[in-house]
Each structure stands twice: as structure tokens, then as C-alpha cells.
């Protein structure tokens, strides 16, 4: 039921934010389209944790500002590498172990690594990630421990955490 209401609220907010017309006719069309979408989602059986992922939103809202700061920091490193008169990069491949338990937490962690310029997740297998980095110093496993911890705190349910 909570997922149902969450999806409904998100759809209504999305319609209102994108339309800007508030005549009864238009509102009626909007209501009809939201209703149709809900019926289709129900028939497809996708009103679940993945269809309405709003339960983890508060924790994710704590994680994203920290990630934004990290992205800005590593952006600066890559911009300097691009503009330096002599190239001084040392491309590296590294294996990173993650403590995240659920798929969602692992995807968030891998996406965060890819999002910060200078490091890209090449492959995920089980709890090991293959990461390609622009600098050897930026690809050491110790550097990813904090991001890993924060991802686990943001996405893993409490009982699975070590």
C-alpha cells in the first residue's frame, strides 16, 4: 500500500510539475493518465520496492551531498591532468572489495565510483569491483573505504550490516 501511494504521489507531482495548465479539462486528462499508468503498473506487477524506491530516500539524501563534494574534488584533479603541459598520468587497474550486501548498495557504490571523474568501474563480480583509474594514487583500495561505508549505510537494510 505504501508503494502504491508513493508511486501515485510521484506521478501526480510529475504531471503537475510538467503541465502548468490547471483548467478542469486538463486536470481531468491528467487524472485519467495517472489512473491509466497506475492500472498498467498494477497489471505489470511492478508496484514494489524497485517501482517506488522512496523508502531509502532520507538516507540517500544524506549520502548525495557528500558524493557531490567528492565529485567536485576529483573533477579538479582530472581538469589539471587535461591541461598540464606535460602529461603525467599513470593509468591503473585495481581490484576493490566492497562490504555492501544488497544489489542496490553495490550498484550505488559502482555508480559513485564511475561518477567521480578519474575512476571508472569496469566490472562487478560478487563483492569485487574492477576499477580503472587515471592516477595510481587515486586508485588505492584504501581511498574507497569511506565511500563504501557510506554506500552501505545509505542503501543496506540495518539487519544485513556487519
Amino acid at each position: 500500500m505504501a508503494y502504491f501511494l508513493g508511486l501515485l504521489a510521484a506521478l501526480v507531482a510529475f504531471w503537475l510539475g510538467n503541465s502548468g495548465h490547471y483548467k478542469p479539462l486538463m486536470l481531468g486528462f491528467g487524472g485519467a493518465s495517472v489512473l491509466l499508468t497506475m492500472i498498467l503498473a498494477y497489471r505489470l506487477d511492478i508496484i514494489d520496492r524497485e517501482g517506488a524506491p522512496y523508502v531509502r530516500l532520507p538516507q540517500l539524501m544524506k549520502y548525495y551531498p557528500w558524493l557531490a563534494v567528492e565529485v567536485v574534488k576529483s573533477n579538479w584533479v582530472v581538469i589539471r591532468a587535461c591541461l598540464r603541459a606535460d602529461l603525467d598520468i599513470t593509468p591503473t587497474l585495481a581490484k576493490i572489495k566492497t562490504t555492501c550486501k544488497t544489489d542496490l548498495a553495490r550498484v550505488t557504490f559502482a555508480n559513485s565510483i564511475t561518477m567521480t571523474p578519474g575512476t571508472v568501474t569496469v566490472e562487478i563480480e560478487g563483492d569485487k569491483l574492477l576499477v580503472h583509474g587515471l592516477y595510481e594514487s587515486g586508485t588505492e583500495p584504501e581511498g574507497f573505504i569511506e565511500m563504501d561505508k557510506r554506500c552501505a549505510a545509505a542503501c543496506d537494510p540495518k539487519e544485513t550490516r556487519a
Binding site: 565529485v71 582530472v78 603525467d88 598520468i89 564511475t114 561518477m115 580503472h132
Partner: protein
């Protein structure tokens, strides 16, 4: 007190267009920087790192600039939607590219490049 808030509102109306212009310009500049990086770096994997500057700070700064110059909140909501979709899809796209290259067997160049490697000419 109401006068004070009205003043702040006027000041913001006056300030937001230049601020938005500066943000858009900075974003465009970052896109050019990352294009320079794409041209200079030696192989596929390192070039992707340079391109990810466009994905993150370039796109974010341009969107922030447009949000500052937005005429009403409807435009703001649409820009927010674009930001969220970019935020979720651009790392996925990068990962798909790198993973495809890795699966196809393209070997990344490992070790010092350029000035850090005395035997290198590039």
C-alpha cells in the same frame, strides 16, 4: 521588515541573470577542457576519464546556470528532471562503454605515460 525582504527580492532579480550567465559560461569552458583531455590522453580508457568531466561538472554547471535564469518554476521542475535523469544515466552509460571494451578484450595501457615515463614520446 517587509521593505528589507522586497529589497532582497529585487537584488536577487538583478543578480540572478549575470550569475546564471557565468555558470553557463564556466560549464561550457569545462566541456572544452574535457574535449582537450579527450584529444591528449593516450588510450580509450583514459579518454573516457576526460569525457566524464563533461558528464558531471560541465552538465551540472550549465543546468545550474539555466536554473538561475529560469523564468518560472515550471522550467525549474523540468531542469530538475533533466538533472536527475543525467545523474542516473551518465555513469551507467560510461560503465556500459568500459564494460563493452573490457569484454571485447581491449587491453588498457597501464603504467606511467608522458612526462612520468622517460622512454615515452607522447
Amino acid at each position: 521588515m517587509g521593505d528589507f525582504f522586497a529589497n532582497i527580492g529585487n537584488f536577487w532579480e538583478f543578480l540572478r541573470h549575470p550569475l546564471g550567465g557565468v555558470a553557463c559560461l564556466a560549464g561550457g569552458l569545462l566541456c572544452i577542457v574535457s574535449a582537450i583531455g579527450v584529444l591528449r590522453f593516450p588510450d580509450f580508457y583514459t579518454r573516457l576519464h576526460a569525457a566524464s568531466v563533461t558528464d558531471t561538472s560541465g552538465a551540472a554547471l550549465i543546468l545550474i546556470g539555466m536554473a538561475l535564469m529560469a523564468p518560472n518554476w515550471l522550467v525549474l521542475v523540468k531542469l530538475l528532471c533533466i538533472f536527475i535523469f543525467l545523474f542516473l544515466t551518465s555513469p551507467t552509460a560510461s560503465h556500459a562503454l568500459v564494460n563493452a571494451a573490457h569484454v571485447a578484450g581491449l587491453q588498457p595501457r597501464i603504467g606511467p605515460v608522458g612526462a612520468a615515463n622517460p622512454e615515452d614520446e607522447a
